[in-house]
């Protein structure tokens, strides 16, 4: 895989997760206490750094075929989950991910809880809300960056892409002090779902011993094939949804 494709795949996936974490931290800081929320972010970053420090070298030590089988399989399961949700959203079967609505819900929930001090943290709820949000979304960032980086023997570039995504999104969040609702998150999730599925397909099959026709040149074909297939599924589901909605009307009019 070229460095550009690796960077783009990891950057997009991590940016999507960072947007979601930013929404949660903004809600914790705005409704409760900024200092406690930022302590929560810091604690989450330390937790994730420890995880990367433990898993990074371990993944690098695994033989390439075994790594590609394990990671390819996981990426494929993960990618199909993303793609499934993205297709359901794009076809209208699932509500679109709306950062403004999520922000409003988090804000209302945060305002309803009484304040509790624990040690240096003046607002424990703000701390745990920010911590949980960052760790949970960050785990996906770590998983994607580590698997892509280890598979392509380029962990530094994957880490750079993940870090760049987090910094760009965090700066945007600080600048607007509002949920990043203008980020085309649903479209980005669709693209990331396609990429995870395609890379998982390619690496998983290679790890299980298969040889792709054309070797690495097959990867862009797989990416394109998955994209076209996913778009076709969106169109088919939209048609089926429209048909199921119009059926009762037709019955009434007839």
């Amino acid at each position: 895989m070229s460095g550009g494709a690796l960077f783009l795949a990891v950057f997009l996936a991590c940016a999507v997760e960072a947007v979601e974490a930013t929404t949660i931290v903004l809600a914790a800081g705005t409704a409760r206490d900024w200092r406690s929320a930022l302590y929560g972010v810091f604690a989450a970053l330390v937790t994730l750094a420890v995880l990367i420090g433990a898993l990074g070298p371990a993944l690098s030590a695994v033989p390439l075929h075994a790594l590609r089988l394990l990671v390819g399989g996981l990426l494929l399961v993960f990618g199909l989950q993303w793609l499934r949700k993205a297709i359901l959203r794009a076809s209208g079967y699932k509500a679109l991910h709306d950062e403004e609505q999520i922000y409003a819900e988090e804000l209302a929930a945060a305002e309803a809880v009484p304040r509790e001090r624990r040690g240096a943290v003046t607002d424990w709820y703000a701390f745990t809300l920010a911590f949980k949000g960052c760790v949970l979304e960050g785990l996906e960032v770590v998983f994607i960056a580590l698997t892509f980086g280890a598979n392509d023997h380029n962990l530094p570039l994957a880490a750079l892409a993940a870090g760049a995504a987090v910094v760009v999104v965090a700066l945007a969040g600080i600048a607007v002090r509002a949920p990043l609702a203008r980020v085309p998150e649903n479209s980005m999730k669709f693209v990331v779902g396609v990429m995870l599925t395609a890379f998982g397909t390619f690496w998983g099959a290679e790890g299980a011993g298969a040889h792709w026709p054309g070797s690495d040149a097959a990867l862009p074909v797989v990416v394109g094939g998955v994209a076209v297939f996913a778009i076709a599924l969106v169109a088919a589901l939209r048609r089926s949804r429209m048909a199921s909605r119009s059926t009762p009307e037709l019955l009434v009019s007839s």
């Binding site: 399989g73 399961v77 989950q81 297709i87 359901l88 397909t201 998983g204 099959a205 298969a210 094939g225």
Partner: protein
């Protein structure tokens, strides 16, 4: 303690497997079949893409039916 362990397992199940366990099982079966065909010296690159072509519409069909 058991409650926390259950929560921990539920988190990892949701993180890795997600909404449809059949997809995860299908992926494992497809990778196993790829390995089996490779060991039998039969070209096996097509198995995983074929699994995607079957699993994704099947999972979407189930999800759209239940909504």
């Amino acid at each position: 303690m058991i409650g926390r362990l259950r929560q921990f397992c539920a988190f990892w199940y949701d993180f890795v497997i997600g909404d449809d366990w059949r997809v995860a099982v299908g992926v494992v079966v497809a990778l196993g079949a790829t390995y089996g065909l490779h060991r039998a010296s039969v070209p096996a690159w097509w198995v995983v893409p074929a699994a995607v072509v079957v699993l994704l519409p099947y999972s979407l069909w189930r999800a759209s039916r239940s909504r």
